[in-house]
């Protein structure tokens, strides 16, 4: 889906922990997420820490969207 949206000229930041699969599918902007069952979360943290984690990951996604990429790039 990410690739089809990217083809329309809209950059996509894919948030995933399945980086190998995303690479196989040649997704342009791959951001490493928090976990399969919680891409933007971390249940081991307190609610305040988890929100802080989410904020940093959103900022990483923004970074991926604002960066020029020439080929598949992983934002760890």
């Amino acid at each position: 889906m990410a690739n089809e949206i990217e083809k329309e000229g809209i950059p996509v930041a894919l948030i995933t922990t399945m980086v190998t699969t995303a690479k196989m599918m040649n997704v342009s902007r791959i951001v490493v997420g928090g976990g399969i069952t919680h891409p933007f979360g971390n249940p081991e943290m307190s609610p305040r820490e988890e929100k802080e984690f989410r904020k940093r990951l959103v900022e990483k996604a923004f970074d991926a969207l604002r960066r020029e990429v020439k080929e598949m790039t992983v934002f760890a």
Binding site: M1, A2, N3, E4, I5, E6, K7, E8, G9, I10, P11, V12, A13, L14, I15, T16, M18, A22, M24, M25, N26, V27, S28, R29, G33, G34, I36, T37, H38, P39, F40, G41, P43, E50, K51, R54, K55, L57, V58, A61, F62, L65, R66, R67, E68, V69, K70, E71, M72
Partner: protein, 350 residues
């Protein structure tokens, strides 16, 4: 003595020697005998068969009104009473590939004759027609003509004779998604160890199950200033309003839907749930912000770090979903996003 096979060859305006792009609008027409690369086809057919006619159609004529073009082409083909049909090869020419695929599919379906064509792996006709049509894999350009034509003709004759068709690798056609059970001398456990040893030793080996791969695409331009951008969320995490009234499937999904995002201080766990069957959804159900970070995005919107978070998110379910369905849904969602003026997408995947 075997009957001499009557073959039809389908070509576009260029290979049919009618002209270049300026002739791409020519309607379907028929010429007697082989034309252009048809000579190679005839050479391979030898005494076994004869190209009785060549059907030529302009690529633009075909793609502008496929329904009208194919009906005219089928009438021409039918009038020659053929035993088989060979189309192209189209190499990487998209309109031509789609025309060859459609001609082969319909001629086989309606006239009951074996049909074979040839295309380069990135030709859009491959994805569209590989299942119903035998498409020989070719090089990217006409440089591969001498290699492709004999394989196309051999396969067409085999199909006519009703001979068993070997694997894609052996015959040279794109896999059609058909799985055949066969007996092997070695157990699977022994075969996989042999494969692992070969892989670790740097020797060549052949996988029995290949992973699908995406074709390379050119990354689109970046968003630029996020403070001036409208961003949308799209997910395959299967987040839907409780009760799933749109009946989005939890696996092998074919549907997506668009829902309103929640307000910053809402308790989305009371309104939404994930129906994804591929993982334990309890953490996301407890707090859907763990899937779609709307609380954080709303903060950033308020602080001016983001112009706007789209009031809607797109949701589908990526559990055992066929790649072709995912692509289709991606295309439809992309069109919607464009009309909504979306400049960037965050796509959390589970």
């Amino acid at each position: 003595m075997d009957k001499k096979l009557r073959a039809i060859h389908y070509l576009n305006q260029f290979f049919g020697q009618m002209g270049g792009e300026e002739k791409a609008g020519i309607p379907p027409q028929m010429k007697e005998g082989p034309v252009g690369p048809g000579m190679l086809v005839q050479k391979k057919l030898g005494d076994r068969g004869q190209i009785v006619a060549t059907v030529i159609c302009g690529d633009d004529y075909f793609s502008n009104d496929m329904g009208k073009a194919i009906e005219k082409i089928l009438i021409l083909i039918r009038s020659s009473n053929p035993d088989l049909l060979v189309a192209g090869p189209a190499f990487n020419a998209g309109r031509y590939g789609i025309a060859c695929g459609e001609v082969c599919w319909r001629a086989n379906k309606e006239l009951g004759i074996p049909c074979v064509t040839g295309m380069y792996k990135e030709n859009p006709g491959v994805e569209m027609y590989r299942k119903p049509v035998y498409i020989i894999e070719t090089a990217g350009s006409a440089i591969g003509m001498k290699d492709a034509v004999p394989k196309m003709v051999d396969l067409a004759i085999k199909l006519f004779e009703g001979e068993p068709i070997s694997s894609p690798l052996e015959e040279g056609y794109f896999p059609r998604g058909i799985r055949k059970n066969i007996f092997s001398e070695k157990w699977a456990s022994a075969r996989v160890i042999d494969m692992l040893i070969a892989k670790l030793s740097g020797d060549s080996y052949m996988t029995e199950v290949s992973n699908p791969t995406g074709t390379s695409i050119k990354p689109s331009s970046p968003v630029g200033d996020i403070g001036n951008a409208k961003i949308a969320l799209v997910t395959e995490g299967g987040l839907v309003p409780k009760g799933n009234s749109d009946r989005i499937e939890g696996s092998r999904c074919t549907k997506f839907a668009r829902y309103k995002i929640w307000a910053k201080n809402d308790s989305p766990g009371q309104q939404f749930e994930s129906i994804h069957r591929g993982f334990d959804t309890s953490l996301i159900n407890e707090d859907p912000n763990r899937l779609l970070p709307i609380d954080v995005l709303k903060d950033k919107e308020e602080k001016g770090q983001l112009r706007e978070i789209s009031p809607f998110f797109y949701s589908t379910c990526g559990c055992g979903t066929y790649i072709s369905e995912a692509k289709r849904m991606g295309r439809e969602i992309a069109k919607n996003l464009k009309s909504e003026g979306i400049q960037g997408v965050i796509l959390p995947a589970t």
